[in-house]
Symmetry: C2
Subunit: 329 residues, 2 copies
């Protein structure tokens, strides 16, 4: 049972990799890293650590459908959507944040945190500097936690560059403030290194209560030591991982352009994006009516005729019918 | 993401191994096997599946201290101890079961299941046929579930033989009855194959609701595919695993005899046992008084003087002061 909660060699390599993916603008301390068997349990652990039943996590829409299971199912916490709109490319606005916050309160819930995916799943976009700053302002004003799920941070294949929440905090001189202790990052090697089967997830937080709680919870899902040994060697080969990430980005960009141009020639547009393994596809013009029923009809038709199972926006809690998440990798 | 919930090859080998450890008297269906990252989460998942907050799991004392975390912490369920006594070597009696059941009800709790460890941690004993039958009678009468944690089933190093709850059910012709669907087994490779770092645990149940629920929950802690590939090869070598288990038993028996005779020459007795990596040691005569304070004093003295950290019975919720769990492997 030595190193029960993670091999030091692996954690050391892991924080180097996290830093490298962020252009070395941010440093990570291995003592603040909690390993979990995949990011699914990393997210759930954070909810268990931060929320009681009756507390709410605010999530910008559209969001990853799995969050309904991961964040709510066993914790008793609730998700309140932050409604984002195509009118500004689904960016998070102070107005939308405030509206969601008040809606949570009207539902008798206690807003506890905002959870973002950056890069966004399913949008495939990275959050911009002003968007991050507005989110920080809001979280400071309302004393909210921020959970930043950055599992696609290594896939950013074109500009603008990825800005992590940590970098935004640093640049605002918020290091070692109370807000600094209310920001928690979720990461995984499933997407950026293409290793979903290895079940390598993690929570990174400067909040020692969260680190202690999540560490205790990680007993419910630790990473195989065999896998940790392999990965500490692999990540230790910095040249290899750098080239892997670079080549992965190049291929993703290529694939994405192929799909976007194919869809364009069929008269279908996509939200402009720069990351992820998926596009947010606009099929509003193909809907018989501006309803989720019509969206479902289009989805059924695509499954039947094209035999491709794409995700309708409704499954991502999108508030506008006609958008679909299409995976290109 | 193929075979997300477990490689078929691994599950097939796993059920063969489970059957072999039970003298092939019992067959297991790979479709009823849910893989989890260690038995810690297997136990927690079963509580999440079977119990609501306010429900109680009845556990014979002494019990593994980790259960307070594993079963209660995140689930909201409660543990009600079934008080076992040295007068009958800590066997579970119908009387003790009934008393615990009534105590749970008086506490306003709804008794939902009995959880046993067989072989017992920390006693190192296997449950006898009549004990299993009495437990089954009780569970049938009260419509309770039985969770049988059998993670030490491969360590039984001397007679009597290990009798699994499944075998007891079969021999009573209870297969395919309602009781059959209320028995759930927890297993792990951590002890029997000495692989705690690999995080290989599992739930086995014929109850399809439990299998479906636990499978969905296993997303919070799956087993690394790399580890599953390795282990399907290893378990596939039946000759190797058989010899490994045999040699492990031989060494455990040897170690245990060494420790027992050493303690005996110091005037200290142990509960007669036939399994596990630990003995249940009787130091009642060393206590200044028949209290848990006196037990703690002896524990502190042993830590300070002998520099060995053994577990006082109080940590295992034993109801009699003076017993200690001592690991010999």
């Amino acid at each position: 049972f030595q190193d029960y909660h993670g091999l030091p060699a692996f954690k050391n390599e892991m924080v180097e990799f996290l830093s490298a993916l962020r252009g070395k603008k941010v440093k990570f301390d291995p003592n603040n890293l909690v390993l979990t068997a995949g990011s699914t349990s990393a997210n759930e652990s954070l909810v268990f650590c931060l929320a009681q039943p009756g507390d709410a996590f605010l999530l910008p829409t559209p969001y990853y459908p799995g969050f309904d299971r991961d964040l709510k199912w066993r914790t008793g916490a609730e998700i309140v959507p932050i409604h984002c709109s195509s009118s500004n490319n689904f960016r998070i606005t102070p107005c939308a944040l405030q509206e969601a916050y008040e809606r949570a309160q009207k539902l008798g819930l206690n807003p506890k945190a905002v959870l973002i995916t950056n890069p966004s799943n399913p949008l495939g976009t990275t959050m911009q500097r002003d968007e991050l700053n507005q989110l920080l302002d809001f979280a400071i004003a309302k004393t909210l936690h921020i959970v930043s799920d950055e599992i696609y941070s290594g896939t950013v294949f074109t500009s603008p560059e990825f800005i992590s929440i940590t970098e935004a905090l640093q640049d605002r001189n918020l290091k070692d403030t109370e807000m600094w202790d209310r920001v928690h990052i979720v990461y995984s090697l499933s997407k950026d290194l293409g290793l979903p089967g290895f079940r390598v997830g993690m929570v990174y937080s400067s909040n020692q209560m969260v680190v202690a709680g999540a560490t205790k919870m990680s007993s419910f899902g630790l990473i195989s030591s065999q896998t940790q040994y392999l990965l500490s060697r692999m990540l230790g080969d910095r040249d290899f991982t750098e080239r892997y990430v670079e080549e992965n980005r190049r291929r993703l960009r290529e694939r994405k352009e192929m799909m976007v141009s194919g869809l364009r020639s069929a008269g279908i547009g996509c939200l402009e994006s720069n990351a992820g393994l998926f596009c947010w596809v606009d099929m509003r013009h193909l809907l018989g009516s501006d309803t989720f029923e019509a969206e479902k009809e289009v989805w059924v038709e695509i499954v039947r005729e094209v035999r491709v199972n794409i995700s309708p926006g409704a499954s991502c809690h999108c508030s506008e019918p006609g958008w679909f998440s299409v995976c290109f990798a």
